[in-house]
Symmetry: C2
Subunit: 367 residues, 2 copies
């Protein structure tokens, strides 16, 4: 697998945009993006040489990809980002996200930013160790439907755990609703999972802002749990970054809610950005399910999430979104063993046969 | 101006999607969205009648808009949202945002959610009062470029304030960088603005997560300032909601960074969602500038932000993004006096003549 290269010069990262424009216009357009994503004002009105040299974005390269699409590489000063993941997103794509004809396609990070954000604290090897798994695919299911009280969700979780699944996560829609408050729900579900006597790891879904999420993590710790689910595009990148930094012993699974339909390239968003911020596993929508990613997008995403990257641990790719038991062999064939298979609805449809179906799911990855 | 209607039945909000699909497929597609945005599992596997009745999303109406576009109205249970703005976004569009053929076009809120979130604490009338303005358009400029040390930014702010502008905001790219840390920058700029002896209100830009933003607001208060700038799509909706609730005396201007290119309709995002969460003013990219909104989008957005809405205060529309002094008459003609004009780069280009140009800008809205 090809390693992700770090940018050699320490003071810039390279943001790579795919821009739809004309050949006549692309040079000016590239300069405009470089300005938009840095000083955002007429460069002619800047008199300070240090700002012109060190802060204004630099067009590093423009390549014609054909069909009216151009790849524009822009060097952005690391100094404008500091150590804040929210500001990283702001500088990479804040205003330019408003242009319908630009995709943030990729980013090359200098070592200093890799060090600031640090990547997964557990990653693939850590999650396998948590689940007591060797070099095999991992399994996961989702607790649903929202609306069930804690006891109802605990009953489902208990059956899934008895079946021996590696991970169970809350549905990302399960938050802190009155019909199933976080502090009441999590300990009851954790107990049901523990009672099964298997190694199943339960990941409750965090919601709200930093303070609320910290309180929820307190509940998670009291319940003896080892990880959580979070939707970084809703929580905010800075919130996600802080929680990962404060809780290096917990596993973080990232959910794709509000990731949008590709204006940030999926392999970049899931394989690099969320990984860089510390997602041990990244849930994404698999090809052939309820969503529109192609096999190529999914393969690129998984390969990027797993690629060697200057010591940053790999994030586990978690293809999901309407996956079925029937597709397990095909998915294992496609992704190999460095994957976590997430099957929710199809398993939940098993009703009274859920423990047995969960066991079958688990057995399918044990060979 | 037409009032924004609230949904009569208290237990549902109505999410309105624009979906590109075939006539043969749209009924099934609408049902799929209703499930995706609520229980996210096969409905046939749900046995609890209360969940089927109260929690599962309901297709309320499907209308053929022509050209392969359909309007799909879905009733989502308020109980799934609770009082969390992040969860509001999650339930409205979390997973469905991943579909490239769906736009979140509009939302009709029941009164109970209007009460939970509360809208702007100041709004148009409050910002006019802060600036000592009557029923006229307001003015605003932006401090740039980032890279300047506090003294350099303070010098520019001082000149703009001497010119008598109503508001000055930090460029949204100005965060907490080492070359101009928030705690060092804000008091110095505030002092320069105060020294001008005009009524100019300075809005520093918040960055990071809730805890960091709270510390920044502490600096803002110590400096005697009355408001802030925030980018809610980067900060996270829940963070924005909490800060507004905790600081009802401060004005909040919302910046559009990371708003994307229209998968959430601009009039909904700026005119309703950010307004509902408490944005006293909403910055958006005006037609005919560096960005792609049409005059129709801008007019809809401004009208929605100002429309009567069950006692929710109006947000001030702030068209921006490459606006020039030359366009002031045309913009006043287009928007009328219920607007804040934001001119950044064109004013910054005035160099030594900045105070005079700011005074001209201010004079243009005083008539």
């Amino acid at each position: 697998m090809e390693a992700i290269s770090a940018v050699p010069q320490a003071s810039r990262l390279t943001a790579i945009y795919r821009v739809t424009d004309t050949a006549a216009n692309i040079a000016a357009r590239a300069k405009a993006i470089a300005v938009e994503q840095s000083v955002e004002m007429p460069v002619a009105a800047i008199t300070d040489a240090k700002i012109l040299d060190d802060i204004v974005g630099r067009v590093e390269h423009v390549a014609d990809l054909g069909n009216g699409t151009f790849e524009v590489r822009i060097g952005l000063a690391v100094a404008t980002i500091g150590q804040d993941a929210g500001q990283l997103l702001n500088m990479l794509f804040g205003n330019t996200s408003l242009h319908p004809d630009v995709v943030l396609h990729d980013v090359e990070f200098p070592i200093e930013l890799l060090t600031v954000f640090g990547g997964p604290r557990h990653g693939l090897a850590g999650l396998r160790a948590m689940a007591g798994a060797g070099a095999r695919a991992l399994t996961c299911s989702a607790l649903k439907p929202q609306g069930l009280p804690p006891a109802g969700l605990a009953s489902i979780a208990g059956q899934m755990a008895e079946g021996g699944l590696d991970f169970i996560k809350d549905d990302h829609g399960i938050a802190n609703q009155t019909y199933s408050p976080f502090a009441a729900r999590v300990p009851v579900i954790a107990e049901a999972v523990a009672k099964a006597g298997t190694r199943t790891v339960y990941l409750p879904s965090l919601s709200g802002h930093l303070e609320q999420m910290r309180a929820q993590i307190g509940v998670v710790r009291s319940a003896g749990l080892k990880g959580v689910l979070i939707a970084p595009m809703i929580a905010g990148f800075a919130t996600f970054q802080q929680l990962v930094g404060d809780n290096p012993d917990l596993a973080f699974m990232a959910h794709p809610a509000m990731a949008g339909s590709g204006q940030i390239a999926p392999s970049l968003l899931f394989g690099k950005l969320l990984r860089l911020l510390g997602a041990d596993a990244v849930v994404f929508t698999n090809y052939g399910g309820r969503f529109g990613y192609t096999p190529t997008i999914c393969r690129d995403l998984a390969e990027t999430a797993l690629a060697p990257w200057n010591g940053i641990k790999p994030s586990v790719p978690v293809p999901a979104g309407g996956m079925t038991m029937a597709r397990i062999p095909e998915m294992l064939q496609f992704y190999g063993p460095e994957v976590m298979l997430l099957i929710g609805g199809d398993l939940l449809s098993a009703g009274a046969r859920m423990t047995g179906e969960a066991a079958k799911f688990q057995q399918a990855v044990m060979n």
